[in-house]
């Protein structure tokens, strides 16, 4: 066995951490490459529309169910606490603030990270391990443009739309619960719900959803695009897409909340 040359370290910190750091750097490079390559002129619109269909419309059923249940259950669970203060009339405003400021975007992003992220990671990973991406490069199709930019853009646009949809469905679920229990009509419910919401809430929710969509698209595409080690790599890419996306979603949530609160 060869001895290490004296005074020269093999790793910067440790092998594992160095690998993570390199992975982070290659991720940042991937994002930079996205902005470098992105152009509406070179965008493959048909693929973009297809991805919007896959990411947005195909997730609509799942998102509807999740959003509705979220609104319904959140209202139901919040009632006893407010009831203690005789403040059940605040339910609409409480639920609407929670949904618009946080839940709609967060729930949508987590569901999309699970469904869309794993899908993209697995799809691009399998293309990578079966050398389809290499074949595209050889045939001058520019796979980054075709595969990555369209998917990231589709995620960035579809997820905010899905989050609005989630918010609407969640408020509908909340309204049903409030109507059944307190017989509040829709007009009064909407008045109470939107009286507490500001443009800042709506804006921050939109920005969050855009960032969540972009993150899910980038992380999933990166994981799949850089997959290796055969079929194991495909599974790993799908898994990594979901785990990293959700992790980053929460990091972004914290960051955006801090920034938003500084404007309040």
């Amino acid at each position: 066995m060869l001895k290490k040359p004296p005074g020269k370290r093999e790793n910067f910190i440790s092998e594992k951490i160095d690998r993570q750091l390199l992975d982070f750097k290659s991720g940042v490079d991937f994002v930079i490459l996205f902005f470098k390559e992105f152009s509406f002129k070179t965008l493959v619109w048909s693929e973009f529309v297809h991805q919007c269909y896959q990411i947005g419309l195909k997730s609509l059923g799942l998102i509807s169910l999740t959003g509705f249940v979220t609104g319904l259950v959140f209202t139901q669970q919040s009632r006893p606490s407010l009831l203690d203060f005789g403040a059940e009339s605040w339910l609409p405003s409480l639920v609407s603030i929670a949904i618009v400021r946080a839940l709609a975007a967060l729930v949508t992003a987590i569901i999309a990270a699970g469904k869309v992220g794993s899908n993209i990671g697995a799809e691009l990973g399998s293309m990578r391990v079966t050398e389809q991406i290499d074949a595209m490069e050889v045939s001058a199709v520019r796979p980054f443009n075709f595969l990555v930019i369209t998917r990231v853009l589709a995620c960035t646009i579809s997820i905010p739309i899905l989050s609005f949809y989630t918010a609407a469905v969640a408020l509908a679920g909340s309204f049903i619960n409030v109507y059944v229990n307190e017989q509040t009509n829709l007009r009064a419910f909407l008045f109470d719900a939107f009286d507490s919401i500001t443009f800042l809430d709506l804006g921050s929710s939109l920005i969050k959803a855009i960032l969540f969509g972009f993150t899910i698209g980038m992380v999933s595409c990166y994981s799949g695009y850089n997959a290796s080690k055969g079929t194991i790599g495909v599974g790993k890419a799908a898994n990594t897409s979901v785990v990293r996306s959700i992790f980053l979603i929460f990091i972004i949530e914290i960051f955006v909340v801090q920034v938003t609160n500084s404007f309040r």
């Binding site: 739309i161 899905l162 609005f164 609407a168 008045f191 939107f194 009286d195 709506l202 939109l206």
Partner: protein, 337 residues
């Protein structure tokens, strides 16, 4: 799937998302009254109690605007700039005041405009409201705290008092601890109880008397209700009253007469020149009169003896015999009747 159909679905999906977003913006705008004409107003508070930009402005319980901004003014407090919708301007008058309250007991701070007199005219853009103060929750808590302290002090006093009583200090303590006193009080209570029985009996008697008063055959009832007796009684009383007044007059006259007699008597008795005055006041005259009376008495006795002797004389014996017979006959006639 057909590409056109897919494109249409995606377009519809995006449109739907945009509609929801636009709907949200419109709803918030209508709540925030973004597209409504507004006027600005100002109020300066010492303490804004957590009021922030966007909080509601109420007038008579109706939301009429929102807080626009807050800024510190050195030595004066916090200047609150707020907006009031133009359509509500006509109902808010210049002398209205503004205070900081809360939406419900634990709700957000709000600005509440109240009062105002129509004679002062409506507010204009840039109007500076005078402020009034409402007791904040802190004030209420402070008052409660003071109450708690008072209650604590009262409790302490009570505790000390009870301790004193328990140790036999003070009148109450002595009373509770002193057996003799207790027995006396106990006896007194017994007597009181007996008295109460008597009072009860008396009350019963009184009750019975009351019943008798209400008896139609009884005198009081008759007096109160009988229409024959009462007028007679009234006339009798009136006669008595007039008689009494006459008697009073007579008594007055008699008093005058007595006074006059008294004064005459005084005058007579005190005078030394009148015969009666001389008789009363002069002792020599009294002695003289006494000896005279003795002489008269002896003279009278001697005259009786002479008259007795005269009856037995021959000249008058017949006359006295006839007189005796007439007297006997008169006595007989009286007995037979």
């Amino acid at each position: 799937m057909n590409s056109t159909k897919k494109n249409a679905k995606v377009a519809l999906f995006m449109l739907f998302g945009l509609i929801i977003f636009a709907g949200g913006i419109i709803l918030i705008s209508s709540m925030r009254k973004v597209f409504i004409k507004k006027i600005s107003a100002v109020a300066v508070f010492q303490d804004v109690a957590g009021l922030t930009k966007g909080n509601n402005v109420w007038f008579s319980g109706v939301k009429v605007g929102t807080v626009e901004s807050l800024e510190f003014i050195p030595d004066k407090g916090v200047k609150v700039n707020f907006q009031i919708e133009e359509k509500s301007q006509q109902y808010i008058f210049k002398d209205a005041d503004v205070k900081i309250s809360t939406d419900g007991l634990i709700g957000n701070p709000i600005l509440v405009i109240s009062g105002g007199n129509i004679s002062q005219g409506v507010i204009e853009d840039g109007h500076i409201f005078k402020i009034s103060r409402e007791d904040s929750q802190q004030d209420m808590i402070k008052t409660l705290q003071e109450n708690n302290k008072n209650i604590l002090a009262i409790t302490d006093d009570l505790k000390n008092m009870i301790a004193s009583i328990d140790s036999g200090k003070g009148n109450l303590g002595k009373f509770l601890k002193d057996e003799t006193l207790f027995n006396e009080v106990s006896q007194t209570v017994g007597q009181l109880r007996a008295s109460s029985y008597q009072v009860t009996d008396f009350a019963k008697s009184l009750n019975q008397f009351g019943k008798k008063l209400n008896d139609p055959q009884g005198l009081p009832y008759q007096l109160a209700t009988n229409k024959t007796i009462m007028p007679k009684l009234e006339s009798t009383v009136n006669s008595l009253e007039s008689g009494a007044s006459s008697l009073q007059k007579t008594a007055g006259n008699a008093e005058v007469l007595v006074n006059e007699v008294k004064s005459d008597l005084n005058r007579i008795t005190s005078s030394k020149n009148s015969a009666f005055g001389v008789l009363i006041n002069n002792p020599e005259m009294a002695d003289y009169m006494k000896s005279t009376m003795i002489n008269v008495e002896s003279g009278t006795e001697k005259l009786d003896e002479n008259l007795e002797a005269l009856q037995h004389s021959i000249f008058f014996r017949k006359y006295f015999r006839k007189k005796e017979e007439r007297e006997k006959e008169a006595a007989k006639a009286m007995d037979s009747e």
